[in-house]
Structure formats: structure tokens, C-alpha cells
Amino acid sequence: MFASIEEVIEKLRLQNYIADRNIATVVFLAARLNKPILVEGPAGVGKTELAKATAAALDRELVRLQCYEGLDETKALYEWEYGKQLLYTQILKDKISVITESAKTLPEAVDLIASQESAFFSERFILPRPLLRAITNEAPVALLIDEVDKSDPEFEAFLLEVLSDFQVTVPELGTVKAKHAPIVFLTSNNAREMSDALKRRCLHLFIDFPGVEREIDIVRLKVPEAGPRLVEEVVRLVNHIRTLDLKKLPSISETLDWAKSLVLLNAGDLDPKLVETTLNVVLKFEQDIQKAKDDVRNYVVARANQAAGGRIPH
């Protein structure tokens, strides 16, 4: 477990994740207070990445549950293995007739079978899904409930029990309590507003686009083969693009992709032509590309002039 906020920053950095103080504080508190974190923010700013990095930093297994519309308990929590149960009944047919042998009437036979019920509704026939696995695991885990906003409100209500007490109820078996409280991350892209009840149980973390400084650090860390000048120019340009009125703003992941592409193209610096041909790495809509093209070209030219002006004294 983390002893201080500094340690969180340090350990996450070792996992190639650069956390600012805000993020680190929330992770630290979540670990200490045993509370889930609800992470919100635009797509591609590293919400899922944070969960992965934290799991690795704590040396825990990451159990991941991807949410989608229609996700229900049988897919998220557990399912009875009907097939296996059926198979066992078939194989054990003889054994069953032995048990029911002494019965004279049908009700008696049913009673006798009923007394053996627990053999069939035991953990043997249960198929654990991510949530149950996260709770019953021998070693503590990190649980990532990804894109929880895509799930139905019913599922969200069901999550409440898991998140507040780290326990789940299987009607046939009783309540299963976590051996170790997992550290839980829920991510949301705000497709819909989460319920107050869920929010109340979580610490809230909003990850926004990083500042220029932090983004430069991130790109340096993840794309070490890119030169410092290229990294800075790319980050500054992306930050400039984010100020434009576009359908989808580029995120950290797009910055990283772009830096990688430019490295592959052996670029040491940005020039207008190169930017124009690779703009589709950063912008994902034709409309956006058309809209941003001129602006970006002007920006790149202006930056280049500035740099030249700085270097060559008149």
C-alpha cells in the first residue's frame, strides 16, 4: 500500500504513468479509505491506463469488467454452470436412484433429492465472472469497471452493494465477503449521468487534458525515441488544436500516436507539408481536418519563423 502521495507519484512513474498531484492524491486516498474511484474525463486521457498502472504499481492482478448496454449479473458476477450440472446428473443417475430407492412415494423422493441439493448448488458449479473473481481472489486485486456509463441503470444499482461493502449475495450460497478489499476504478465517458447513490460511494476524479509540461513529460516517457524538439513542437501544436472548435478534440493517445508516426517518418521537426499529410493521425473526422488545416499550417509556419528568428540574429 502507498505510504504517501509522493510514493504514489514515484511508483506510478515506474509504471510509465505520469500522475499529477491531484491524481496521485485521489489514488492515495482511495487506497487508504478503501473507496472506489470514479474516473471521468474525455476519451483518451489515460483513465484506463491509470487503473492498469496502479494495479502494476501495487503488484496486483487487474480484473477488468468491460461494460456495455445489456450487461447483467450473469455476465458480471457469476453464472451457474447448467451444462456441468446437467452432465453430473446424467453421470450420477445410478447414484440418484440409490438415494431415492427407499422412497415409497413421489413426495418422499423429492424430499430425499432436496436434502442433496447443496451438492449441486455449491461453488463447484459456479462460474465466477469478473466481480466475483475480484472479491474471492486469494491475493488482493485491482478491479477495473470500464465505461460504466454504458451499462444500464439496473446494473448500476446492483454495483452499489459490491462497491460499498465489497460483498455480493448469491441467493443459493449466501453472502460472499471479500477476503481483501480490492482497489476499484470505474471509468466513465459521461454517456449518461451516473446516479447519486453510486457517486456517493466513490471518490470522484476528473482527468482533463494535461498541461503542456505534463504532456511533454508523458510523450518523452512513452516515445523516448522522439527528439526533445519534436516532442515539444508536437505537444504545443496539439494543445493549439485543442483550442479550435472541433467535433473531437485530440487526446493524449492521439499525441502519442502522432509522435510515434513522425518518428517513423524520420522527422526531426515539424514542417507544414508533413503536418498536413499526417494530420489524420490526430483528427478523426474529415470535417475536423478540413476545418483545422489552414489554421494548423499558419501555426506551424509562424512557429518555424519564430524559431528561425530566435536562432539567426539580424
Binding site: I5, R21, N22, T25, V26, F28, L29, R32, L33, K35, I37, L38, E40, E81, Y82, G83, L86, D152, P153, N190, R192, E193, D196, K199, R200, C202, L203, H204, L205, F206
Partner: protein, 465 residues
């Protein structure tokens, strides 16, 4: 520390942030874990435990700054001379005076001011605010009053007299330069401090009402008549339409998701689900009934008199068009023309409106003729109306004494789910002069006066919810 957090949470609540008991408890535990010394972590700890959505984030930020930052920096900025040399000179003033005069008859406030004792000044301001009740200020109109009361409490009106006395005493003892310096510095500090007091009172008010002005404006704009807005308000109204539309969409999607509707048995899904049980249908699957989204047909009068109202109507409808299965819109003065495609092509509703209203679709310079427009609609479009369609007509019903053709409305009402008339005129003038409202009203399921955003919102709410 707990005391401070309690007060802070109280302030958040007064700013309409919902903070529950469990959140408050979390905040205490979190604050204890990170401590007060690390400002940034402390702020993050409170924010993550108390604020559960992006929406309240801004409120948190400004209230946090107002509450925990204090006035220290502000006071220092106000009192200190930006010139380094001057500042050094001024800082010695107090000691020089102590040397020159054996007893300095100065109030604590004057001393703190001359010594630039920010912490002491802040403390005095706080005490004065508590004593005068300025920390309970409830309206921006009280700012002047409380500034006055605070000044009085701080013995402000005595300061000048005291200073004059000291200047005279210094002069009397022959310290001319020092006297001048005191006069200059003291005068300047007093003036600045007056500003600080006002600022303090304003902040006290903002603590509990941090975005008062904006909210006040938004509230008033909702009830502002379309006919009396200036261009600036018009732009703000457009913003408000957008937020109203967002809110409505969120509410509708929540509600639609919540209602569980069972339809007929879904045989395929049932068999699939029960294969593991040897095909015995233990678990039965139903088809989900989808709630039908209403179809909307809007007829907007765009003659000069009601154009503004029509513009907002169309803007609103197109901001929430996902809520309808289909939206068709027509504009008319005397001729009637369809603008559905125009709004589809133009992503920006403002531009679409501009094109629609400048005569590209219909002749907009004629005199209103509802009767003719209705008759044309009847001839060309009546067959497209079915029992899922809600028809909204927006207009003042002033027909220039032309034939009203109200039989068209009868036919529409018979075929449509609902026929709604929205009139930007007050109900009292319906039927006066050339208004044909009473005739048209007979065939309407609902007729409302719509001259403000609030009224418009209510109507649209009632259609989609």
C-alpha cells in the same frame, strides 16, 4: 481543522452543491490523511470527496479560493509599494516614528497599516465582519451598508484625525521630512485599505453566492419576452436554449431507460437462454417494447411580428431533434415552405434560421395570410400526418381579414395525435381586431401563450415527457 471544513461544506451547500453526510465524513477522513500543509493535496482531497460531477467543479474551485486563500495576498498587493526602493523606505517609517516620538498615540489599525502587518489586518477585518454581521451578508445591495459598518467598527473615521495629530506633532518637534513621509504613506495606505474593506465585504457575499450574477441573469432571461431583447441578450438566450435542450435530453434518456416495458415472448432468445437446461424454458425472455418517439411537425409564422418567437421555437426543436423520430418544419407568411432539409444540411441552426428568414424559401415580405398557408398545407402535406404526429403551429393568428380556413385545422386535428397552437401574443388580445384565434382554438388540443423561454420550455417538456 474540522471546524473549518464544516463551515466550508456549509458554504458549498449554500452555493447549491449537494453534499451528503457520508461525503462530509469522507472529506474529514481524507483531510486528516493528507494534512493541511500540502495545499494542493488538501484541495484535491476535499474535491474528490465532496464534488461528484464536473458540473460542481467550478463552484468548488471558486469557493475554495475565497474561503481558504484568505485576503492576505490581496491586502499585501494593495498596501505594498511596487517600487522596491520605496517599499524599503516605507518599511522603516514605523521605527523612525518610534524614535522621533516617545509615545505614539496610534490605534492598533493605524499601527498595523503603517507596519504592513497583513496577518493582523486580516484578523481585524475578520473580527469586524463578525461583529457587524457582514459575514452574514445576504444580498449584493447590502455591500455599501456593510462596508460602512465595518469601517465604523474598525474606527476608521478616527484614523485621519489621529494621523493629522501625529503629523503635527512630528512637525512640532522639527521632523519635517518624516512628517511629510507619514502624511504621504499614511494617506495612501488609508485609501487602499478602504478598497480592501469593500473587497472583503464583496467576498463575504460571494462565498455564499459565488455565481450570483450569472445565475441571476440566466433566471431573468428565461422570463424575458422575445419582443424586448437586445442583441446581447439574444446571444445569451441562444446559450440558454442550448442548456435547456441538454437538460431536457438528459432527463428524457434517463426516463426512457428506466421504464421497463415488456412486450411479447421472444422465442429465439428464450430457447437460447435455456439450452443449458435441456431446452426447458425456465427463464423466459420478452421482447422489449420501445417507447415510440413522437413525430413532430412545426408550422412557424415568420412574419415580422412573431419572427423572434419562431426562431427560438425552431432553434429549440432542432437542438432536441434526437428526441423525436422525425421533425419536419414549415415556415409561412402567406405561402408555406418546408425548411426541414435546410436545418439538416446546416449544422449551425443560427445559419439555417438566417437562410430561412431572408426569403430563400418563401416570400417573407407579404402580408400574413394564415388561411392561404393552411389551405396549401392541407393540399400538399395532410397525407403525411398520422396518429403519431404532434403538430405545433406558432403564430399570432392575425389573418389580415382573409378567409381563415379553419376547416384545415379540423382535418389536421382529426388525423394527428395532437394539435398545439403557440401564440406569442397575450391571451387577452386573442380575438381582438384581425386575430382569428377563437376560430382556430376550437380545433386545438392545447393553446398556450409563448413569449418567454420558460413558457416555450414547458410546452416542449409536455410533448416529449
Amino acid at each position: 481543522m474540522d471546524q473549518q471544513i464544516v463551515r466550508f461544506i456549509d458554504l458549498l451547500r449554500q452555493n447549491e452543491v449537494r453534499v451528503g453526510m457520508s461525503e462530509a465524513l469522507d472529506a474529514f477522513r481524507a483531510a486528516e490523511l493528507v494534512g493541511l500543509n500540502d495545499r494542493e493535496a488538501f484541495r484535491a482531497a476535499l474535491k474528490t470527496t465532496l464534488i461528484k460531477g464536473d458540473r460542481d467543479g467550478k463552484t468548488f474551485d471558486s469557493v475554495f479560493d475565497l474561503y481558504f486563500r484568505g485576503m492576505g495576498e490581496k491586502i499585501r498587493a494593495a498596501l505594498e509599494n511596487p517600487d522596491d526602493k520605496r517599499r524599503a523606505e516605507e518599511s522603516q517609517l514605523w521605527d523612525e516614528m518610534a524614535q522621533a516620538l516617545d509615545d505614539q498615540e496610534m490605534s492598533p489599525l493605524m499601527e498595523a497599516l503603517l507596519r504592513n502587518d497583513t496577518a493582523r489586518l486580516e484578523q481585524m477585518l475578520q473580527q469586524a465582519a463578525q461583529k457587524t454581521g457582514a459575514d452574514q451578508i445576504a444580498s449584493p445591495f447590502q455591500e455599501g451598508y456593510y462596508s460602512y459598518r465595518m469601517s465604523e467598527e474598525l474606527d476608521w473615521y478616527n484614523l485621519r484625525f489621529q494621523m493629522q495629530q501625529n503629523v503635527a506633532r512630528l512637525r512640532g518637534k522639527g521632523y519635517r521630512q518624516l512628517a511629510e513621509k507619514l502624511e504621504r504613506v499614511g494617506d495612501q495606505r488609508m485609501r487602499m485599505f478602504q478598497e480592501v474593506i469593500k473587497e472583503y465585504v464583496r467576498r463575504e457575499f460571494e462565498k455564499t453566492h459565488h455565481d450570483f450574477r450569472k445565475r441571476f441573469q440566466e433566471k431573468s432571461i428565461l422570463d424575458k419576452s422575445f419582443f424586448s431583447v437586445n442583441p446581447d441578450e439574444l446571444r445569451r438566450m441562444e446559450d440558454v436554449v442550448r442548456t435547456l435542450a441538454e437538460k431536457l435530453k438528459a432527463r428524457v434518456t434517463m426516463r426512457r431507460k428506466r421504464t421497463k416495458r415488456r412486450g411479447t415472448l421472444n422465442v429465439q432468445a428464450t430457447i437460447r437462454k435455456n439450452i443449458g437446461l435441456g431446452g426447458v424454458p425456465f427463464h423466459i425472455e420478452f421482447r422489449r417494447k420501445k417507447k415510440e418517439r413522437p413525430e413532430l411537425v412545426v408550422l412557424c409564422d415568420v412574419s415580422d411580428s412573431v419572427r423572434q418567437a419562431s426562431a427560438f421555437m425552431l432553434r429549440f426543436v432542432y437542438s432536441v431533434q434526437e428526441l423525436f423520430s422525425r421533425v419536419r418544419s414549415f415556415i409561412f407568411v402567406s405561402d408555406i415552405g418546408e425548411v426541414t432539409e435546410l436545418f439538416k444540411e446546416q449544422k449551425d441552426p443560427g445559419k439555417a434560421l438566417e437562410q430561412a428568414f431572408n426569403g430563400a424559401v418563401i416570400n417573407v415580405w407579404q402580408n400574413s395570410n394564415f388561411g392561404k398557408a393552411f389551405a396549401d398545407f392541407h393540399r400538399d402535406q395532410l397525407h403525411t400526418i398520422n396518429k403519431r404526429t404532434t403538430v405545433i403551429i406558432l403564430g399570432d393568428g392575425r389573418n389580415n381579414y382573409n378567409p381563415p380556413n379553419d376547416w384545415v385545422l379540423r382535418d389536421i386535428q382529426q388525423k394527428a395525435k395532437k394539435l398545439i397552437w403557440l401564440n406569442p401574443e397575450g391571451k387577452r388580445s386573442w380575438g381582438v381586431g384581425d386575430s382569428e384565434m377563437p376560430r382556430y382554438l376550437r380545433w386545438c388540443d392545447m393553446a398556450e401563450e409563448v413569449r418567454t423561454l420558460n413558457q416555450l420550455r414547458r410546452v416542449i417538456d409536455s410533448i416529449v415527457l
